[in-house]
Symmetry: C2
Subunit: 133 residues, 2 copies
């Protein structure tokens, strides 16, 4: 069975922290989910770009590609910029990706958004900080 | 026993999504953790500001205040701007907050950062998108 590609897209930053976050998160996802081929890309300032990582996926044996934005919430990058770069019209979540002379499904995931897991993360960070007292 | 204050700080945005995310996450934390008094604040564009929410905490019966940034990773807001607004020198995570004529401990939590919970969220969003195929 072929694996699926997962492109984790970060915002990018002049400081190193966003890139480190995206790359380390990609590694954890890859370790926990061998059913995916995980690659990272950045909207701004860091590399590889989305175009560069899409080109790298053309070398992989995958039967679908999912683009997952590592962004907290919708914004201009999520609604306009990333869809444009992955060949989707604004508002669409499903398209195709040309790979080795065939087309595979491409889907575009939601950003983090409101999620109990995020609330748990905030409570965990609060508890860690309160341990300083 | 007095409760602890938790100030959840978001980036803010011209679009409504960041504010919605921060406020809904604050509600989930409050429901799950009645030991905190949870309030939200925004660095930019949305209200209340950090100063406004800190003033609101002066009306609460709390014995400590933890400031938790709902940001993915460190950046200028995390390293410089928020510390300045909550009265901490750059790099410090522990200070005090003046409330009703006394000083209570104030601590400053880390942003989300690399965490297995974040990797799980990315895998969950990917799976939901792949269900569209």
């Amino acid at each position: 069975m072929e694996r699926k590609g997962m492109l984790l897209v970060g915002h990018g930053s002049k400081l190193p922290y966003n890139q480190e976050l995206v790359e380390s998160t990609g590694k954890i996802v890859q370790e926990r989910h061998p059913e995916y081929v995980v690659k990272c890309a950045f909207m701004n300032m860091n590399s590889p770009s989305i175009e560069e990582s899409l080109n790298e996926f053309k070398k992989e044996k995958i039967d679908a590609l999912v683009v997952v934005p590592l962004f907290l919430a919708k914004g201009v990058h999520i609604v306009k910029d990333i869809p444009g770069l992955i060949g989707l019209p604004e508002g669409a979540h499903k398209g195709t990706f040309a790979i080795n002379g065939r087309e595979i499904p491409l889907v575009y995931a939601e950003p983090i958004g409101s999620d109990p897991l995020l609330a748990d993360l905030m409570a965990k960070n609060a508890k860690n900080a309160l341990a300083l007292i």
